[in-house]
Symmetry: C2
């Protein structure tokens, strides 16, 4: 995607940078980021994840990566790996558990740190960036460092989740980020007994976002506690994104 | 429950104070608080809710109460009402949308404010207190103001939600709060087509918490997007709590 580079930028030059956003928390944004990354790896791509959700980092937790302190190599941080995916986040840089109040220049500095102080391998194909929910000041800070990054929106079928996702999408478009499309998560539940799809959270969320932003619905991911049963859905999604 | 009163305590003297806690966010703690309050009102009780989740207040949002500025009456805040339930929370006291960094004495002062600066009606039967998820410093601050309050724990069937709920329960017991029991939320989904219960998130969460803390499972609330379909479940729960 050829990000314009400032001098210290250590991110991989040839990679596609895709930010994953949602309007509200709890819709499955981090789950989608992790499962999509795994599917891209299964298709032979080299993938890294930046957990930019500074207010509620969860990628390291999903991968069960503990903060044993980072390893420094030639002055840069070596990101830990899980499932062949390099991962960095505030919870891996930050000791302790204090709610983080990142504002203005502090926030810009932190986001920069993800792309200047980390030793990223240069042959990475996809850098996925897990954004905090909503439209706050982290997406702005990302925009400054990665003006060319694309964006994926995650919503559930629920009315309120879709409306705030539209707001997050409009804010991204204003900043010049191309929107790849919307992922409707928890879209239905496939009944174990009668195999009929159950639209527990309604049916319109994905369509509401897609129509409002004129973007495609890239996937409808079912409600499934055992995430390994979602592999086929995420492989389909990964193929669409690789060809986009 | 006859809380020991300091001079300025404005909470109702004869009310039962019940704190609603969970280990992690997103398990439905606030939804359970609101639906239980509505069921208690249907059974003729007078109810108020204190939203002490200072990091993620949501009770006013669930009731669609907007922060139009509070009304002051004889130097005290008049809590707004929805469905006959008086509600106060940081989002109704606080202008704007900044993430709140409440620590130590500031936090104690805020929690106190809920019980000294608000004009509570004295014939309230139940004061429900929605705690932040986890075991941080808000439950400690509540303990100081309301040493006799009882506690309800909310979990989903998921393994990780149950384990953190047990930790929240053990912390409450250490502080001398009697545990009423555990509510397993999103316990199952009643298939619309074949009516067979679907245990989407597994089956053991409530039982794990109940056994670890030697408390009863008070309710198993199904996954149901239309909350009005949960009335019967919450009426049963309210009857158990009134008689506890
Ligand atoms: N498709 C799904 N089916 C079942 N549970 C899901 C699904 N997607 C997410 N979850 C669960 O929902 C909760 C919230 O997901 P998470 O990815 O943390 O949301 P967000 O990042 O939007 O806050 C987690 O417990 C996760 O396991
Ligand atoms: N029994 C239920 N069935 C369906 N959705 C539920 C249920 N309980 C909660 N929810 C939904 O789950 C989300 C999280 O609930 P919330 O009460 O805000 O959780 P918490 O207070 O634990 O963070 C909300 O969108 C809410 O509507
Ligand atoms: Zn069925």
């Amino acid at each position: 995607s050829k990000q314009p580079q400032h001098l210290l930028f250590s991110g991989p030059q040839q990679a596609r940078y895709i930010a994953v956003a949602s309007g509200k928390g709890g819709v499955g944004k981090s789950t989608v980021t992790v499962e999509l990354a795994k599917a891209l790896v299964l298709l032979g791509k080299k993938v890294a994840i930046v957990d930019a959700d500074v207010y509620g980092a969860s990628i390291a937790k999903i991968f069960n990566i503990h903060n044993d302190g980072v390893t420094i190599h030639e002055g840069k941080i070596l990101p830990p790996k899980a499932h062949d995916i390099a991962v960095i986040g505030i919870d891996l840089l930050n000791e302790g558990n204090t709610p983080i109040l990142w504002r203005g220049p502090m926030l810009g500095k932190l986001i920069n740190q993800f792309f200047t102080d980390v030793a990223w391998e240069q042959d990475i194909d996809f850098m996925l960036i897990d954004l905090p929910p909503g439209t706050g000041d982290v997406p702005m800070a990302i925009q400054q460092v990665l003006p060319q990054s694309e964006m994926l929106l995650v919503t559930t079928p629920q009315h309120d989740a879709a409306h705030v996702a539209v707001r997050a999408g409009l804010a991204a478009v204003d900043m010049g980020h191309p929107l790849l499309g919307v992922i409707e998560n928890m879209a239905y539940y496939q009944c174990n007994d009668c195999a009929k799809p159950q639209y527990i959270f309604g049916r319109d969320g994905g369509m509401t976002v897609a129509t409002a932003l004129s973007v495609p619905i890239l996937a409808q991911i079912p409600l499934q506690n055992e995430k390994s049963n979602l592999t086929a859905h995420f492989l389909d999604l990964a193929k669409i994104i690789i060809n986009a």
